[in-house]
Subunit: 346 residues, 2 copies
Amino acid sequence: MRKPNKRVAVLSPIAWRTPPRQYGAWETVASNITEGLVARGWDVTLFASGDSVTRAHLHAVVDKGYEEDSTVDPKVAEYLHISEAFEQAGKFDLIHSHCDFMALTYSQLVRTPVLTTIHGFSSPQILPIYHKYRDGYFVSVSDSDRATGLNYLATVYNGIDLSLYPFQDRRGEDLVFLGRIHPDKGVHLAIEVARLSGMRLIIAGIVQDEVYFREQIKSHLDDQNILYIGPVDVKGKNELFARARALLHLNTIPERFGLVLVEANAAGVPVIAMDLGSCREVIKDGETGFLVNNVAEAARVLGRISEIDGRACRIRVQQNFSINTMVDGYERVYSTIFDLEGRRRS
Amino acid sequence: MRKPNKRVAVLSPIAWRTPPRQYGAWETVASNITEGLVARGWDVTLFASGDSVTRAHLHAVVDKGYEEDSTVDPKVAEYLHISEAFEQAGKFDLIHSHCDFMALTYSQLVRTPVLTTIHGFSSPQILPIYHKYRDGYFVSVSDSDRATGLNYLATVYNGIDLSLYPFQDRRGEDLVFLGRIHPDKGVHLAIEVARLSGMRLIIAGIVQDEVYFREQIKSHLDDQNILYIGPVDVKGKNELFARARALLHLNTIPERFGLVLVEANAAGVPVIAMDLGSCREVIKDGETGFLVNNVAEAARVLGRISEIDGRACRIRVQQNFSINTMVDGYERVYSTIFDLEGRRRS
């Protein structure tokens, strides 16, 4: 790789700080890529909220994430933040965007190549923009989460900082749900599994769908068997993992990647996940957890959960979902882009 | 003017069709500028929704306005629409934007000069973007609606197509409110004036603030003295003007321009307007209506409404707020920009 003479701009979202204090998967991954590249000697500028924490050069035009600062208009902040990176494009050999379709609309106005990591398609309504810019450079975060017709250079799995999620040898007794409180994440299904199995369920995460929380979750909370503890930071996650017999992730729509599955596995916690979308790429059935198709199956495999070796879970994360493996992947993608651009210009 | 060899892109909003079927002041003005320029021989490309009606070249990437098509995501449509114009920038000598702060964020990525007509500052939260791009080219739609520090080249008053609002010699008997149903527009104050004066009030316009309509307007509607007839098109407006003794426009925040005041005056209808913002630029007190400071004053001046000569109202519109006067204004601004750009490059 030609690191020393290449300058990379990483364009992180500004919903949250990079890295986020609690929730914020896209910002987490953008941070891990940035810090991983810096550790390998790359010259990286991180475009993120002003309170972000990085060893890269930080360039910020918005002080705080718009989800953390009610005085900020998200639309205004996003336009200001994204355009700023493109106005600085001449200083970089590559802009690596994590800012979805919005950043794509600036990509043809600069000469610097733009790589977009697609962290997920929030709705079919955004596809017209992806299709317009389909000849750009794209990375998917799982093989399953791809739109047809886009110029994907690779799938690069998200990687976590394993030092944040130390291996915990002793397994706990509870079931754990960790994620956005939203029907997509199947919190109600996790509750059903807890009831069927007679195990305690601890639910953690931000409430993204208030109606869902009020109508389908709240009435089940009893401070004893079904608990909701709100959003948690890294420390809180590790405390949850210590109490976890298994992580329940019964998503009702195809998962795009599933960072929390990897975090749980890193700590040695087996994952029971719905076999939808990326879950079968992240979880190895019978080795790092179980893939299931419904609540009954999820309850059934709980009886076999002791078959899962926590160390095998961690090793699989080290080998596939670490910052190192992710940065390896992106270095290959960057190299491909620099080669293609070099040829295009010569 | 050097019309023949200059190509202008007019970037209209895509909330509604250009021109709009009913409500849509920004699209109305963008349309009037476009058609006025075309009538004078300019080569104009209108960037607007695909169903727009124009004698200019129409360039559209979104079929219908996002307010008229529930399948469209407004954010996606706006990014797609605005960036398209900037990607085509090389074809134009000037981009004349009516797309607020969003379009500004693309302006430094192209060589083509960008003129922004500021149709109003929707909130102080958008000012950081205006301040960042303060050295661009700006036009205000009234002297009163200006932010400090921006490079304003002129105030160009909005102009209407007078042929759409023919003069009506006979005055009606009712009070008329025409505009968005929103507290900013003082519909509740118009109702108070109707009560005080014992006159009938006809309210027309889109309900923009549902809570306001439900809590402060609806209970007053009685199908007899206070009527709400929904949004109206040009034909509906003229029917209202035929019934109007006066138009009530008791805005509670500074008006930015007030297109409906001009439309009413064009038809010969006097306007009673709150003396806030642009109203004193649009209405000449005692000649084309009355400027008031409260409901009591509004009710009082109704007793003097016959002093207002409908023909004087129309003449003032012809002389100050017609498509012709507006296009005169913009031609002067364009000329200034071409001179400045020419000097910058030489």
